[in-house]
Amino acid sequence: MARAVTPRRKLVNTGLAWAVGLLIFFPILWTILTSFKTEGQAIASPPIFLGFDWTLENYSVVMERSDYGRFLMNSIIIAGGSTILGLIVAVPAAWSMAFVPSQRTKDILLWMLSTKMLPAVGVLYPIYLLFIQLGLLDSRAGLVVVMMLINLPIIVWMLYTYFREIPGEILEAARMDGATLKEEVLYILTPMAIPGIASTMLLNFILAWNEAFWTLNLTAVDAAPLTAFIASYSSPEGLFFAKLSAASTMAIAPILILGWFSQKQLVRGLTFGAVK
């Protein structure tokens, strides 16, 4: 709620908030700026902030060297696919936890979260061997499933907290009118939970996009996403700050843009039931 404050206080607030915001954002801004410099200017002392010769050379070098489009496509498919698949599995589970709770509901929820604590490096060999057996190595399908499983606990929990906030009376009323379970979920719950579902999807998409262990270790060519793309630009020989910056910018730009457009949704929806 916007409270009435004196203009002076508002000015102070604004100044402070902008200063802090820019400070936090600065590393990203600096990376983006550096990506338009030449390698020489990127390490110039003292550093050049804006007064350099803007160039797109780094981007063309990166584009020439790697098939950026394919990496990007894979990132979108893997993050998107795992989000959709995750929702399909999680919505019914969260629904039943929220509306037909039993004594074990809380235990199940917490157990689900605890599966996320399995250290990934410790199970690399088992999973890799399993993927060979199933022929899933370097396949998008395999990664979609893994990403879905990794984030499933978070999705279930988030959805559960949203569903719980939906008043039970509405459901009772619908049931009186003879709505089936399916109709109940599809036509009453889901629309009411749309904001919650949307922010769940967003969060899951971001987490899957940024996951860098499995996406790197279970792929080679066909399914390699942007996390693998960036692994070929870290510390090559000689000067590389500008090229690294260009590659970094290309890796984070799509998700950054998505995040910016949906920040209102994120701010409103990321509650995990924290708000009473």
Binding site: S96, M117, P119, P126
Partner: protein, 288 residues
């Protein structure tokens, strides 16, 4: 109240999620347990049979074990303290009326969208490099000797990098919680002449308790497993070897799957201890 029929329907609806997660947990877990009792050296002819508890004893008596546990907990704790403290302050600031609130919010949450590898690379090279990094330039500008961050202050540097990544998440959740705070209550307290510090301690903080527990729970889950940040920046040197990094070294660098798997089992145990501890607090906080 739920009928018998809706109960079984509910169970059915929960089944896919539960079965999938059970599989995702059990299959690797059983394979890890199996490997952990075997001498499994891929570069030396593979699986060489049972070895009892040797791997477990060896892993836990290794000079690297306890420091690694300590490092893990320090990183988790350090990041939690920083992100929660700064997150509360930032959320309160962002809740104030101001010009350009939307843009400031975007700036603040942006780090959350940066993949860990990229953020580690950017911090390491463009900021913390002792020769060409921005910090080095800044230090020289003020006439100071540049610090080589990732060797002389490796732990604080890593904690800082990770905190930068997670601060937006904490801020977001805390901000949502703060926005739901009853402003009348605050204003009434203000009217009564309660000083800001008191208002913060007795009204705002209790209101945020639940959100803070959520932040702690979710972040702990992710922080126990951080890997990319360490892999890229220090490679586990200078006292930054966490338990999961130690396992990585055993499994991939030393190619001793048996030993690494035993380490994996320890990591699961540690995670569960932390989890139970957390669940106690969170569970209480979530119930009411």
């Amino acid at each position: 109240m739920a009928t018998q029929q809706s109960r079984s329907a509910a169970r059915l609806m929960m089944a896919p999620a539960v079965v999938l997660l059970l599989g995702w947990m059990l299959v690797p877990l059983i394979m890890t347990l199996w490997f952990s009792f075997r001498t499994y050296l891929p570069l030396r002819g593979g699986d060489q049979g049972w070895t009892g508890f040797d791997n477990y004893v060896r892993f836990v008596t290794s000079s690297a074990f306890w420091p690694a546990v300590q490092t893990t907990l320090m990183i988790v704790l350090g990041v939690l303290i920083i992100t929660v403290a700064l997150g509360v302050l930032l959320a309160m600031l962002l809740d104030q009326p101001m010009w350009g609130q939307g843009i400031v919010r975007i700036l603040v949450i942006a780090p959350f969208f940066v993949m860990p590898t990229v953020s580690a690379l950017v911090w390491k090279n463009m900021f913390m490099d002792p020769v060409n990094g921005l910090f080095a330039h800044l230090w020289r500008f003020f006439g100071a000797e540049p610090v080589s961050w990732l060797s002389d202050a490796a732990m604080p540097s890593i904690i800082m990098i990770v905190s930068w990544q997670w601060l937006p998440f904490a801020t977001l959740i805390l901000l949502t919680a703060i926005q739901s705070l009853d402003s009348e209550q605050l204003e009434a307290a203000e009217m009564d002449g309660a000083p800001p510090l008191k208002r913060f301690a007795f009204i705002i903080l209790p209101h945020l308790a639940r959100a803070i527990t959520i932040v702690i729970l979710i972040q702990t889950i992710f922080l126990l497993a951080i890997f990319a940040e360490i892999f890229v920046t220090t490679g586990g040197a200078f006292g930054t070897r966490t338990l999961s990094y130690l396992i990585f070294q055993r499994v991939l660098e030393s190619q001793n799957i048996g030993l690494g798997s035993a380490g994996g089992v320890y990591a699961i145990i540690l995670a569960n201890i932390v989890a139970i501890f957390l669940m106690r607090i969170v569970g209480k906080n979530l119930d009411n």
